[in-house]
């Protein structure tokens, strides 16, 4: 754009100079005047097109609200009057001045004077011609009565008398009869043309002023010479006389000026048009160049601002990498530089903040991870006791998704009211102190600990709780084990002396007593011995529970073990339906203890089936992941709901006879096998006990 403009301006200047030169009076360019005009007009049109293009670009920028375009427009509007007003003024004044000065060249008096001068010259020449004519007629008269030979002699004398330069006598056929000339060297006389001769004969005279471009003006007069007789042919006398040099020169000069003047007055309009055209083209080229230049300058002035704006917008978008280029050393350059350094500082500050934030996020994620993987439940409340944060552990313990509970005050909880009440009570009672409380919730024992969060970190409350059901169960089992051991030890010791004493009493006294008393004694001692034996059996059971040795885990075929045990129960009355999965991998277990488990479970099932119609026991095995599942189901009376949760605790039994240790032992053995045992009542009738035992590990099996 810039170079186009520079080129156009340079070209315009050259063309204008040529045009101005051609408009002047130099002959150099006048031939190409029209071409020059055309070139200038074409250049003006091209510049106009350039301006149109620039205007279009600017309008497009304004419409799309490119930053800086309005500033460009303002600069342009400031520049344009500075161009147009002086240019227009000079143009108008020049036009006026030119029109006036051209008109002032022409004057009626000058016109008249020139006309008069020309007429004066003509009159003088006419006078000379008339005079020469008179001389010719006189000579012709003199010659007319002379014989042809005399005429030849007489001609030169007459010529000298009349003071004429050349005299010539021609025959009717045009041949030269006699010639007389003032200049001796002139051999060939100047012959009149046939047309002139003809005219001279017809009109009896010919007189004319002759002038050639390169010769002096001369006067030519032809008169016929009267013949003496009819027989003689009519001759013609020609006189040639050059116009006196001074007169000729002056007359020519007057004519030249007259012609120039006339030409000038005739071309007055054309001249005006030339000047107007030249002036107008000059104005147009100047205006257009200046306007295009104004566009360029405006754009250039507003360019750094647009760059700065682009940089600002980039910063606003968060892109700190853009740096506006410093192109000048003026205030704009300084501004750009400060902007750059500001952007740099912003960038640094932002990256520091970013790294801080990343660190914080990592720490937070770490904490959240810990919280999520915590088995304990955590509930965080705000100061109005509205639930804020819940971890996965809480959900798992309470088996609650907490949908619709978050953000709600504890008092408004639709579910978990016992928990909510306990928490509210806890915080109400203990104020800012940390409290701890056990809460039995739907057969679960929760240990809750509540604390108030420091006010500096936003305040609120936090409740941490744990499911201690298993812990308590284990504690109970341990306690029972201890009791059983103590019982076995403490009770078993006196039993033998009691038995021995009873036997001794019988042996010693039986013979000494009357038969009636002896019978009584026998019955009493029998009773004592039997009851002691029963008590011994009971104590042995306790001892067995308390003293179950650590299992000796070996790989074993569970199905084979089951079949072996089932044989013993085949004739017990109930229908046995084993459904053993073939190809079950070996499990890790102690065969003796597992046999005990099977006996206990089958015995329980049989007891439950006592008195029911169509007794049936199902024994199933199947693989469940990396565990083997053994399920023993019956269609008996099932477990009462009341003892479901404590069914594995010792002395919990529904049987009229029994220690209540069967399932407790099962539980203990299976726990020591790292397995799991579950009891459930079947939907229809009966109950089922499922046992999960770990399978032999693949690597161990390979070994």
């Amino acid at each position: 754009m810039k170079y186009v403009l520079i080129f156009s301006v340079a070209l315009g200047a050259i063309l204008l100079f040529l045009l101005a030169a051609a408009s002047g009076n130099t002959a150099l360019f006048s031939r190409h005047y029209a071409l020059l005009l055309g070139l200038n007009a074409a250049l003006a049109t091209a510049l106009l097109a350039l301006i149109g293009y620039q205007l279009w670009v600017l309008t497009a920028k304004l419409r799309t609200r490119v930053f800086g375009s309005r500033l460009t427009l303002r600069f342009l509007l400031m520049f344009l009057p500075m161009v147009i007003v002086p240019g227009g003024l000079v143009y108008v004044v020049s036009l006026q001045f030119m029109a006036k000065s051209i008109e002032s060249w022409f004057d009626v008096r000058v016109d008249n004077a020139l006309e008069g001068g020309l007429n004066l010259g003509r009159t003088a020449l006419d006078l000379l011609l008339t005079e020469l004519n008179d001389k010719a007629r006189h000579m012709a008269l003199e010659l007319s009565d002379k014989s042809p030979t005399q005429q030849v002699v007489l001609l030169n004398r007459l010529r000298e008398q009349a003071g004429v330069d050349d005299a010539l006598l021609l025959s009717s056929s045009g041949n030269v009869i006699a010639s007389a000339s003032k200049s001796v060297g002139k051999l060939l006389p100047d012959l009149p043309s046939a047309a002139i001769q003809r005219q001279a004969r017809q009109s009896r005279a010919y007189s004319a002023l002759e002038g050639a471009p390169d010769k002096r003006l001369s006067l030519r007069v032809l008169v016929p010479v009267a013949a003496l007789s009819i027989a003689e042919d009519e001759r013609l006398l020609q006189l040639l006389q050059p116009v006196p040099p001074t007169l000729a020169r002056d007359a020519e000069a007057v004519q030249e000026v007259y012609r120039d003047y006339k030409e000038l007055s005739l071309s007055r309009q054309g001249l005006k048009e030339i000047y107007i055209l030249t002036l107008t083209l000059t104005l147009l080229l100047t205006l257009f160049s200046a306007t295009a230049l104004a566009f360029l300058l405006s754009a250039r002035l507003s360019e750094p601002l647009a760059l700065l704006a682009a940089g600002t917008q980039a910063v606003a978008r968060g892109d700190y990498s853009r740096r506006a280029q410093v192109t000048s050393s003026d205030e704009l350059g300084i501004l750009t530089q400060s902007f750059n350094s500001m952007t740099e500082q912003l960038d640094d500050a932002r990256s520091v903040a970013e790294s801080h934030r990343a660190e914080l996020e990592t720490a937070k994620a770490y904490l959240e991870n810990i919280l999520a993987n915590l088995s304990a439940g955590v509930l965080v409340f705000d100061e109005q006791l509205r639930l804020g944060t819940v971890n996965n552990g809480a959900g798992a313990i309470l088996q609650e998704a907490f949908d619709g509970l978050k953000g709600r005050a504890l008092a408004d909880w639709p579910r978990l009211q016992p928990l909510a009440r306990a928490i509210v009570e806890g915080f109400k009672q203990h104020g800012a102190d940390t409290w701890q409380q056990q809460l039995e919730l739907a057969e679960r024992m929760l240990l809750m600990r509540g604390s108030v969060l420091p006010r500096a970190s936003g305040g609120g409350y936090v409740v941490v709780f744990d499911d201690v059901t298993t812990l308590i169960q284990a504690q109970r089992a341990t306690a029972w084990g201890e009791v059983a051991r103590r019982l076995a030890h403490e009770i078993k010791n006196p039993l033998t002396p009691i038995q021995l004493s009873a036997e001794r009493l019988q042996a010693k006294l039986a013979n000494k007593l009357v038969p009636e008393d002896a019978a009584t004694l026998n019955r009493a001692t029998e009773t004592i011995i039997n009851q002691v034996a029963a008590m011994k059996g009971m104590v042995d059971d306790f001892g067995e529970y308390a003293r179950t040795p650590a299992p000796n885990l070996v790989p074993l075929d569970l199905n084979a073990l089951i079949r072996e045990v089932l044989v013993l129960y085949e004739h017990a009355g109930a229908l046995l339906r084993p459904e053993l999965q073939p190809g079950l991998p070996r499990v890790m277990g102690d065969p003796t203890q597992l046999r005990q488990v099977l006996h206990n479970l089958l015995q329980n099932a049989q007891d439950a089936l006592a008195g029911s119609a169509g007794p049936r026991i199902e024994v199933e095995t199947e693989r469940a992941g990396n565990q083997a599942c053994l399920r023993i189901s019956d269609n008996g009376c099932g477990f009462p709901e009341a003892i479901m949760m404590r069914v594995f605790e010792p002395y919990v039994t529904t049987k009229p006879k029994g220690t209540g240790l069967g399932l407790a032992i099962v539980k203990k053995i299976i726990d020591e096998h790292n397995g799991a045992v579950r009891v459930e009542n079947l939907p229809g009738r009966g109950a089922s006990v499922s046992i999960l035992l770990p399978l032999q590990r693949e690597s161990a099996k390979a070994a």
Binding site: G211, P213, E263, S267, L271, L277
Partner: protein, 192 residues
């Protein structure tokens, strides 16, 4: 007025100033191209009709230049046409002192007392040796063309501007073109 001038100037530019607008006040009434010993000579008659503006200009002393242009072209399918052209410039002027009209061509001149006499002579072209024998080849079809026009570029500058914008100053005939070929007898005569 300036605007009108500019517009007409631009119009003239667009239409092309080398071929001025068709102000046909010169007509070609007769043409003959005769062979002679040296080659071919052209005889032609024009009918020139000067408009009052031009007549006034002549009487005010402005010299008018008439150019007679002859052109002989040979069509070439493979390249630009081969052409031979001849020009003859005739100057018509008025001598106020002697009240004579003058036609000059180079150093030759002729004077006339009336404009119509001068124009009659101007419009007659006789024995203009336009072609040399060597320039022609036998049996080729040529296209000959002739026109006469007022040479505006010879006018004083102000009139040139007038001529650019006004049709009154454009005086020209159309190109008259006719086919032309050399007959064999003429070439036979050439060696004598």
């Amino acid at each position: 007025m300036t605007l009108r001038l500019l517009v007409s100037l631009l119009l003239a530019l667009v239409l092309g100033w080398t071929a001025p607008s068709r102000a046909n006040t010169i007509e070609i009434s007769h043409i003959s191209l005769e062979g002679n010993d040296e080659g071919y000579a052209l005889d032609a008659d024009f009918e020139i009709e000067l408009n009052p503006r031009l007549e006034d200009a002549i009487n005010k002393g402005v010299a008018l230049y008439f150019q007679v242009e002859f052109e002989l072209t040979r069509k070439r399918w493979y390249w630009f046409d081969d052409s031979v052209s001849r020009q003859r410039m005739l100057r018509l002027s008025y001598h106020a002192l002697t009240r004579q009209y003058r036609i000059s061509s180079g150093a030759l001149y002729q004077s006339f007392s009336t404009l119509s006499d001068a124009l009659r002579v101007l419009s007659r072209v006789r024995s203009w040796q336009v072609l040399e024998r060597a320039e022609l080849t036998t049996g080729t079809e040529y296209q000959a063309g002739l026109r006469m026009r007022l040479d505006v570029t010879q006018l004083p500058k102000p009139f040139q501007v007038n001529a650019l914008t006004s049709r009154e100053w454009n005086l020209a005939s159309d190109w008259r073109r006719w086919p032309f070929g050399i007959k064999a007898p003429v070439t036979e005569k050439a060696p004598q």
